[in-house]
């Protein structure tokens, strides 16, 4: 219905560039999708072979699942709505949003394929650092002294008497293998270890919003996308 305005029409692609009246295949195509598409879009072919990719080369998807060769994308809405057809878990709306998720998935992801995991344009934390300041803890020098009992968690403390009392018995052995670099590694390796629900959440982070003595405090508490 919309061939005239599509990219192929404007690029002067003719019907016979893809179809042959003598071809016996589906829709009289000269080759099948994606091989036919790759004959012009070599870079997309290369990306489909990157470590992180949609299952096109495995035969589980085709270019035509997202692109209409006679028009544009297979959606009449925003480009992100095309992604949400399969990745509906990110449809929201969420109580606590992450701005680029609501704007355009391609701000962080390249759907054609990437070297980084999860079709991310960059590896963590560098992708996140393009829009966010690094955690100030990364500048901290860590302790290196060994000890038998250095950590505890609620699982261990729940049975303590009185409840919640930490002792050597209910603590967790902890070896600080990274020494001085412990803080840098912990806070500078992967942001989504703590901010694990970066696509949005309905549950508040553990930090409460507060009001400081200057009237400002931390009004954004709860929006950390950690839960």
């Amino acid at each position: 219905m919309d061939w005239t305005h599509g990219e192929h029409a404007l690029a002067d692609v003719a019907c016979t560039d893809c179809h042959s009246v003598h071809a016996g295949g589906k829709m009289s195509l000269k080759q099948q999708d994606p091989d036919l598409c790759y004959s012009c879009h070599q870079e997309q072919q290369a990306k489909a072979n990157f470590p992180s990719h949609h299952p096109i080369k495995e035969g589980k998807m085709t270019c035509g699942d997202c692109h209409n060769p006679h028009g544009e994308l297979e959606t009449e809405e925003l480009a992100r709505d095309l992604c949400l057809e399969c990745h509906s878990r990110y449809q929201g709306p969420f109580v606590f949003e992450h701005a680029p998720v609501e704007e355009d998935c391609s701000i962080c992801h390249d759907p054609h394929g990437t070297v980084s995991n999860n079709l991310l344009k960059q590896t963590e934390p560098f992708l996140c650092l393009q829009c966010h300041e690094s955690h100030f803890h990364t500048m901290r020098s860590g302790g290196t002294t060994a000890s038998d009992v250095l950590a505890f968690d609620a699982n261990a403390l729940n049975g303590a008497t009185p409840a919640g009392t930490p002792t050597a018995a209910n603590g967790i052995p902890f070896t600080n293998a990274h020494g001085d670099d412990g803080w840098r590694q912990a806070f500078g390796t992967k942001c989504t270890v703590c901010h694990s629900v970066v696509h949005g959440s309905d549950l508040p982070s553990q930090t409460s919003p507060t009001i400081g003595n200057n009237g400002e405090g931390f009004p954004d508490g709860g929006k950390g996308l950690t839960r």
Binding site: T4, A99, L150, C194
Partner: protein, 640 residues
């Protein structure tokens, strides 16, 4: 849906019998064999989508294709591929004299997922340093997180707390630590999708095609779910999370052709549900400086919303939940063909997404029981030929997105004084209104002209204007101008070439304003801990309120200016051979306020295609992708 293959098989037999009676010729093939994959390490690395086999070793597989297109107008097609229990593909097409056409397909496959062992999550507070040979008092000021006050001998590394031994004390105690609670589990999702669509043309209304579709997609399996407790200490755990997602899409509509006017309407209803068990985790006790770091039941600086036993004695809390949602959309399109070369196309789209929400007793309340997003899009396109060799295309689109703002009332966990916030005590509840970035207006205008230069060449000129007006001022409004020039020519009988250039200028692309960096207004230097020129900087202990609230540097990964050039040439000396060479150069840059970056991308490629026989295609392709980015902005990071 795991029984869908049997339903499909039954359907196939049911359709096969009458179809085979009509069919005058049947073609097809059956293929059977074995395929194997050797997996010594991780499925994710060598068999992410289980395309060769689902498990280590050799497995049998089968494929079949049958088709018939009779002279009587009845046709059917069947494709089947069975690579394993979780790797199957079936497709059935049936055509009854173009009156009723139906297509049904089913596919399943397994996607292996990452498992993060989290072995980089070890960080501890360093022990205090005292004068040589002297013991150092242990208190919250020297080592946050000590359970009991005492003293530390840095020479001998011994701790004295009353009569307690050192064994229960914590020198350099863990402040960040990770636990992989399922270290040996493999995570994967089995994806299943059943798609059905039909077209119906009633002989009494041959100009109208009724169409409908039904799609059922399932994702089932387990993925890693990571969560953290905050302060003190930061405890990260990874565990298994069940995934059982279901998306149902039902579409109904019609396309009618009335002379020069064509109209299309489609209604779609989507239901998304997550049926998997909700993951829960303990939120560790938070140690409070207000209580001298000695009481695990005290509240950490009054900034904790919940922990492992408060409020209400709820020991575990849900996390990493996926909200259910419902979506309805209406798409109406109309096209009027004035002549063969002049047409006007209009479209209207209305979509609504709704998701139920609820608060959590004692933690937070939400005003309202659901959130809703509305989308309205109005499009208009016009195409004509101004001259026999000049095509003109104009387009415009107005999109309006509106989503609910949300008022949330938080109930902080306790009301002890906050030393870092001037000793004030928080009210029992705090209500904040949260805006949404979803709400915005988008205007897009575009024009393209394609000029045919003789019989061998075409020249395209294009321009697009786009403006995004966001309701949330934090992200600013964005205006984009894009210009395109493309040239296509046939250099020789078997040699085609294309070249294009694109320039895009964007004013204020989506950015995180005031995301980083504080420049002292008096010294003009970045913030440091000894800077006392601002009464709120350096004199207090709280880095957050002193620094975060006064950041001035904008950050964005989207460019302000983009130049992109492409060139490609294809040589086809024979019908079964072609060679294509291409090169793409792209330069992006953004001069953000107080930070700037630029990125250059080179991507040459070479592709050779040869088909020695009709059934055999060989492709050799090489692509190089080189990208260099330089940011003139410094962030505290690893040493060196």
């Amino acid at each position: 849906m795991r029984h869908t293959k049997w339903l499909l098989a039954t359907l196939l037999i049911a359709l096969w019998l009458p179809a085979s009676a009509f069919a005058t010729g049947v073609n097809g093939f059956i293929e059977a064999g074995g395929a194997g994959v050797s997996i010594k390490d991780s499925q994710l690395k060598v068999n992410e989508y289980s395309v060769i086999g689902e498990d280590d070793g050799l497995e049998a597989y089968g494929k079949a294709q049958v088709e018939s297109h009779g002279d009587n107008g009845v046709g059917f097609e069947l494709d089947a591929s069975l690579m394993g229990n979780r790797d199957q593909q079936y497709e059935l097409g049936f055509d009854l004299k173009r009156i009723f056409r139906v297509n049904s397909s089913y596919q399943s496959y397994q996607h292996w997922l990452d498992h993060d062992q989290m072995n980089y999550l070890d960080a501890a507070v360093p022990p205090p340093v005292g004068p040589g040979g002297a013991t150092v008092p242990l208190n919250p000021d020297s080592i946050p997180g000590f359970f009991l006050e005492g003293s530390y001998d840095p020479i001998n590394g011994t701790v004295t707390v009353g009569s307690n031994t050192a064994a229960s004390q914590q020198i350099g105690r863990a402040s960040v630590y990770g636990e992989d609670l399922t270290p040996n589990q493999d995570f994967s999702i089995v994806y299943r999708e059943w798609k059905n669509k039909f077209d119906l043309v009633l002989p009494s209304m041959p100009n109208i095609t009724f169409h409908g579709s039904y799609r059922l997609q399932e994702r089932e399996g387990f993925e890693q779910s990571i969560g953290m407790s905050k302060c003190t200490s930061c405890h990260v755990t990874g565990q298994s999370r069940e995934v059982d997602e279901q998306t149902k899409d039902l579409s109904l509509g019609a396309t009618g052709k009335f002379g020069k006017f064509t109209a299309n309407y489609t209604f779609t209803d989507r239901e998304f549900r997550e049926n998997g068990a909700t993951p829960y985790r303990w939120y560790d006790p938070a140690l409070s400086p207000a209580a001298g770091y000695t009481d695990v039941n005290a509240v950490f600086d009054n900034r904790i919303l919940y922990d492992y036993e408060q409020p209400g004695g709820i020991a575990q809390r849900a996390y990493d939940t996926t909200p259910d949602s419902d979506k309805q959309s209406h798409v109406l399109k109309g096209r009027y063909d004035f002549t063969a070369a002049t047409s006007l196309l209009g479209s209207y789209v209305h979509a609504t997404v709704e998701s139920d929400k609820s608060g959590e007793a004692g933690v937070f309340d939400i005003a309202g029981d659901s959130l809703q997003t509305d989308y309205d899009g109005y499009g208009l396109r016009f195409a004509t030929k101004l001259l026999p060799q000049l095509k003109l295309s104009l387009r415009g689109k107005i999109e309006h997105l509106d989503s609910d703002e949300v008022a949330i009332t938080f109930y902080p966990n306790g009301t002890v004084a906050q030393p870092n916030l001037g000793g004030g005590v928080l009210p029992a509840s705090i209500t904040n209104n949260y805006g949404t970035i979803i709400s915005r207006d988008i205007l897009t205008l575009g024009a393209d002209a394609v000029y045919r230069l003789g019989s061998k060449s075409t020249l395209r000129l294009g321009y697009e204007f786009k403006e995004v007006d966001r309701d949330d001022n934090h992200y600013e409004d964005t205006t984009t101008h894009q210009v395109k020039v493309a040239y296509k020519t046939r250099l020789a009988k078997n040699l085609n070439a294309r070249a294009s250039y694109m320039y895009e200028n964007t004013k204020d692309p989506l950015q995180n304003t005031d995301a980083a960096g504080y420049i002292d207004p008096v010294t003009g230097l970045p913030y440091n801990f000894t800077d006392n020129t601002d009464p709120r900087i350096g004199t207090g202990l709280l880095y957050g309120t002193a620094f975060y609230d006064q950041r001035q540097t904008d950050l964005s990964n989207l460019p302000e200016d983009t130049h992109e050039g492409k060139a490609s040439a294809t040589w086809s000396p024979m019908a079964n051979f072609s060679a294509t060479a291409s090169y793409r150069l792209r330069m992006d840059e953004n001069e953000l306020d107080r930070s700037e970056w630029e990125q250059t991308t080179h991507s040459p490629s070479l592709s050779l295609w040869y088909a020695p026989t009709e059934k055999l295609n060989l492709t050799f392709a090489y692509n190089y992708l080189g990208q260099r980015a330089e940011a003139k902005f410094c962030q505290g990071w690893y040493d060196g």
